[in-house]
Structure formats: C-alpha cells, structure tokens
Symmetry: C2
Subunit: 381 residues, 2 copies
C-alpha cells in the first residue's frame, strides 16, 4: 500500500526546469490538480480564503497555487470538519493546487502558553484559549485531512537574532521532525511533502540542515526561518549558502518572503516558490505595490489625483479607478478599498513573477532585474 502510493506519487508529482539564467531558473511543477509555473508566488489563503478576493479573481491573475494555514484551519473550522466537508479545495472553491504550512510557524507567533518538547508543541488557541497539541504526526495528519497537494514538514522556527546554540538546537529538532513528518505523510498519490532547511543565520548550520534534508525523500525543499526580523542581506546570504546543497531537480521554496525586491533577489539566487501575506495585508491597509514601487493611498497628496494607480498594470483595480477614489475609500475604511488594493497588489506580484519567468526563459534575467529595480528606484512620480 505504501509502496504503491510512493510509486504513483513519483509518477504524478514532477518538477522540471525549462531554462536557467545564472542561478535563476524557470520551470513547472506538474501535479494531478494542475501545473505550477515557477518561479511562483502563492497568495496566502490563511483561513480558507485569500482575504478580500474571490477565488476566480485569484486564478485569473495567474496564481497556480494558494497557501492554506494548518494552524488557523485546525482551530477553525477544524481539520476533521474540513475533511468531512470534502477537503479544503472544495470547501474554499479552489480546485487548483494548494500548499499547506505545518502550523509550526504560527504556533510560535500566534498561540498562547506554548510548551515545546521533543514530541511536539502544546499550546492554547488564540481564538478561544482551548488547548491543542501539534506534533509532526498530527501536523501531517491535518494536512492530509485538508487534502493539501504540497504538505510541509513540522519544524521549529526561531526568531532572529538568536544564539548559535538556540539555532542549532532548533535545527536539529527540525531534522528529527523532518524524518517523523516524512514517515507520517499520508497524502494521496500526486501529493507530496517538502522538508524545511533551518539553522538561523549560521552558515554551517544551514549547510548541515540542507545536506541532511537533501538525503531524505522529499518532493521539494523549503528554506524556513528567514524574513523573521533579520536584514535582507542576511537572508540573501543564507540563500546563497544553502543553494549549492539543494538538489537541482527539486523545487526550492523560500517561506514567508517577501517584498518585490526580496522576490527578485531570491529568484536571482535560485529560489522557485514564495508565499507572503504582504500583498494582501498591505492592501487592507491602504498600501499598493505598483510598477513604480510602493504607493501609500492614505497620503493626502492622492486626494485630488485623477490618475489611475498603475497604468502599466493589467488589473482593473489599477486602471479603472482614480487615485482620488482609492484614497477616499481607504480614508473611509470602505471594504471596496481593501478589495481593490488587494486585487492590485496580487496582480502586481503575479505580473512580477510572470515577468521573471519570461526573462529567465529569454536569458535576460539580469537586465530585466536591473530595469525592474530602476523603475522602483525612480518611484511614483
């Protein structure tokens, strides 16, 4: 039974690199539920919804995969409930690939009264204070109940800066949990699981983690524990340190990253997948990402500006409304303001990824990167 599943899975989950330009690569993950073009940005659908967006809008922007959060979904409505209702895809009306995190990161950042030991983490829900336990086995069980296509190993993510000893302890624990997660993986054929490189900001720990995970039977590898407070330079250095030890034939996923600049610099260093709440969260707070950089619509200078937000965008939110109107919606705390800016931001992120994929395929990634960054630097004039 386990043998068969592994065989089917290997057959159904594939990753191929179509073109390289320096360390940057473009390709595709193929899965039963569809193809993920890489480099890919995954909009975050925390509680079974990409906030303020209809799923068909998310799809139309070019998103091939969304992320679901194990921590949020286990608390509400509950993993068994989602399974009973036919799984997360059906529940949220998204028939395309879904990646779920393991819950490890949110347990550390959101829950109350955490206790961590070798077995896992005991914590209280931030919603109702109820006690829960997450272990590698339970995390994988939850992700299988959700029906996730790409399931993440359970890991411990420490905040930076931290001592080398603390980073080493958490990295080693995460490696043991990687083994347990892989064994506990209960996905369907064509679903897969990714390991997560940890090790804080310590190159030798990162390398040790990457090497150990590369030897395990994971469908892909993630770099975790970054974008947790450290400078961008540290994050990029860690990617560079780890990259040579990641298998070329497997997708690399940089978790929880980041700004448009983080994305372009990370793709430049060989990363294939990203997720981040930034475009959706910023959109709910009046901040827009555009081809000319970041624009704060709350700013009074937009009150009489009849220009659209981003004429280079193909998104109706960026083209069909004046900045004055968006400013008015943001100032009035209107839901439509959040809807339009989230839409614009996710559109920009997807256009950024599509532009990078095309540039890599045409072997002009460095020029494309320089042009893109020059536009940001000129700013919104």
């Amino acid at each position: 039974m386990t043998e068969d599943r592994t065989l089917n899975e290997t057959a159904a989950f594939t990753f191929s690199v179509h073109a390289r330009d320096g360390a940057a690569r473009t390709g595709a993950i193929s899965m039963p539920r569809g193809e993920i073009r890489t480099p890919a940005f995954m909009p975050v659908g925390t509680a079974a919804t990409v906030k303020a967006m209809y799923t068909d809008q998310v799809r139309a922007l070019g998103a091939d995969v969304v992320l679901g959060n194990t921590y949020h979904l286990m608390l509400r409505p509950g993993a068994e409930r989602v399974a009973e209702l036919g799984g997360l895809h059906k529940f949220m009306n998204w028939p395309h690939p879904i990646l779920t995190d393991s819950g490890g990161f949110q347990v550390m950042s959101l829950s109350k009264l955490r206790k961590l030991n070798e077995n896992g983490v005991t914590f209280q829900s931030h919603i109702d204070g109820a006690k829960h336990v997450l272990t590698p086995e339970r995390s994988m069980e939850i992700q299988a109940l959700l029906g996730s296509d790409i399931q993440m190993q359970f890991d411990e993510c420490v905040k930076l800066p931290c001592s080398d000893e603390e980073a080493e302890r958490a990295m080693r624990l995460s490696l043991r949990w990687a083994e347990r997660s892989r064994k506990a993986f209960a996905g369907q054929p064509g679903q897969t699981t990714f390991g997560i490189v940890q090790g804080g900001a310590v190159p030798r720990l990162r390398v040790e983690s990457a090497k150990a995970l590369a030897d395990m039977d994971f469908g892909g590898l993630a770099i975790g524990g970054l974008a947790v407070g450290e400078p961008q330079a540290v994050m990029l250095e860690m990617i560079e340190v780890v990259e040579p030890h990641l298998p070329q034939g497997k997708p690399r996923y940089l978790m929880g990253v980041g700004t448009p600049d983080d994305l372009i610099e990370s793709v430049s260093r060989g990363v294939d997948m990203f997720d981040c709440v930034m475009p959706t969260r910023a959109g709910r707070h009046g901040l827009a990402y555009t081809h000319a950089g970041k624009v704060n619509l709350r700013n009074a200078k937009h009150a009489t500006d009849t220009r659209p937000l981003d004429p280079m965008s193909s998104c109706p939110a960026a083209r069909d409304y004046s900045r004055a109107y968006l400013h008015h919606l943001v100032r009035s705390n209107e839901i439509l303001g959040m809807m339009l800016l989230t839409w614009n931001n996710l559109a920009y992120y997807q256009e950024l990824m599509a532009g990078m994929r095309a540039a890599i395929a045409e072997r002009r990634f460095q020029d494309h990167k320089a042009e893109t960054k020059a536009r940001w630097a000129r700013g919104d004039v």
Copy 2:
C-alpha cells in the same frame, strides 16, 4: 436658460407605464444615462460605493440605478471635490443613473448638535465634528455638483411615532422646502428632481402633502418618512392613502424601504422605486435573503451543511459555496463572507424585482405574490 433646461429635461427624462395589474405597474424611466426598469430596487452606495461590491457586479445583477448619499458625500470627500474630479459617476466608476437623497434624513439620524429653522439645518459632522449647514438650496447645489440624475428635494423627516402637530409642522416645512428645492434645482438636461410626501402617520396630512406636491413641477414623487419605526400595516396604509393623489404618469419612490415583504406589498399598492441598506447591511452581518426567506449563516446548524445557500438563485455566491463555508467565513469575520452575502442579497433583491416586473407584465401579479410569500412562509428547510 432655465426655460431651455426645462424643455430639454422634459424631452430627455420620461416615464412610461407598460403594464398594470391592479394598482401594481411596470414600466421604465428613460434618461440620458440609461433606462430604469420599474418596479426598481436601488442598491445603496452611501459613500460612493455599494459596500463590499464591485460596480460591475452590481450592474450584472440587473441594477439600473444606485443611490448616493448627499450627507456622507458632502462630508467626505466633499461635493466640490467630487465635481472637480468629474462627478460621482466617474468617481465611483458607475456610468448608469444615480439618484441622490437630499441629506435631510441622515442629518436627523447621524449628525450631532442639530439646529433646525425655516432656513435649513445646522449640524456637526459625525466624522470630525465640523460644522455644516444644509438648506434646500445647498442640498440641490450639492446634488448638482455630484451630477446626480435624480435629485431629491430637501425635507424634514420626523421619527414615528410623533404627535400630529409635529407631523404637520414638518410636512408644511417640507412643502415650503419643496418649492425652494425645485427653484434651486441646477441639474443638467435629462436630470430631474423628485418631491417627497411627508405627514407622519396622519392620513389627512399625507393627502395634503401629496396634492400640493402633485401640483408642483417634479419629475417624480417620493413617499418619505416611513419605515422609521412604525408597524408595516401603518406604512402600507399610508401608501394606500397617498396613492390616489400621485400623478399616474410619474414614478413613485418609497424611500428607505425595505424587507422583501415590504417591497412586494408596496408594489402591490402602486410603488415603482425603492432603496434600502437592508440587503447590503445584512450581508455584512451574516444574514442572507433567499427564495426561502431569511437565513442567518452565523447559526451553528450551518456548520456542517454542504448545501448551497439558495439553489433557486442565479448568483454564484448562492450556488458555488456550501453553507458550511459561508458559516465559517462569517464566524471568522472574513471579508469574503461579507462580499459573498452582500452579493447574494443584492442578487435576491434584483431577482425579486425582475420577478415582479414579469408578473405584472403577464397580469399574474397576485398569484406571483402569493407564491412568493408562500415560499418565504415555508422557510428554509
């Protein structure tokens, strides 16, 4: 100049009744910006947005006209600002007809430190406490600056119950303000202004008001000051009392009404137009209007219900998501929950109006009304 405008306006603003069934009528208002099929429900776009809806969704549901609020828009972003930006249609990206209220109702219900005299109302903004004055002349000026297609006279709306003396005083003041509003009307050709029948719950006052307004040169007549706390029976009685005195050739608009039952009973008594925040406000609070009546998605019984909200609806929100999912979104305070339920509710209201229009055209309105009410009475089983 005034002569010419009146002539052009008469040519461009027309109302024709296509069919009658008892007192119920169906027809169309024709204006330069488009046709309004009656009986019509106007979604409320308070602050230049129908909350939680894209304008193209509102349009696709069959809405021919939306309502804008003079009170809200004069405070933020300001009428002169909207005019400078090209008018309300352009501002909110809605090129179809817009009706604006006069501000009178909201001044009474929302503002602080009101002082009313013959000239108008002085009040403080509920947003920032700034002092403002609304008079018939300023209200009409604001509505012209917004570019409203149907502009409402400035009136005084009293809360029910109130003394006959109070109702009479406010009605007489509203009649004098009707004259001043009509004179001050500064709309473009094809735009028009409606008078508002007042008189509380006192039949003789309502009749006096209706007769006086029928003699003035208004494009249509509204019945105001109802749905302000009185029983439905009182509201319907006031419509019946007023109806014989309203010109047959002009549209009748029942302001701020109401529940689906209010709408069907009012159409039955000869009303052509409605507006109400109910479908949009309810949608933001987990309440759905369906062919089977009202459904509270917050209720725990929906947590495991895989059925769609309303299979008789043509709206994706009512068909493509399980009640369990909608329940989850509402419980989690997700914006998508507000988006989907608002969409469903406005779809139901528009389908209700379309059904009434068809039934009147086919002279089967009473049967249609009985069937519709029987479905509501059976409830959501």
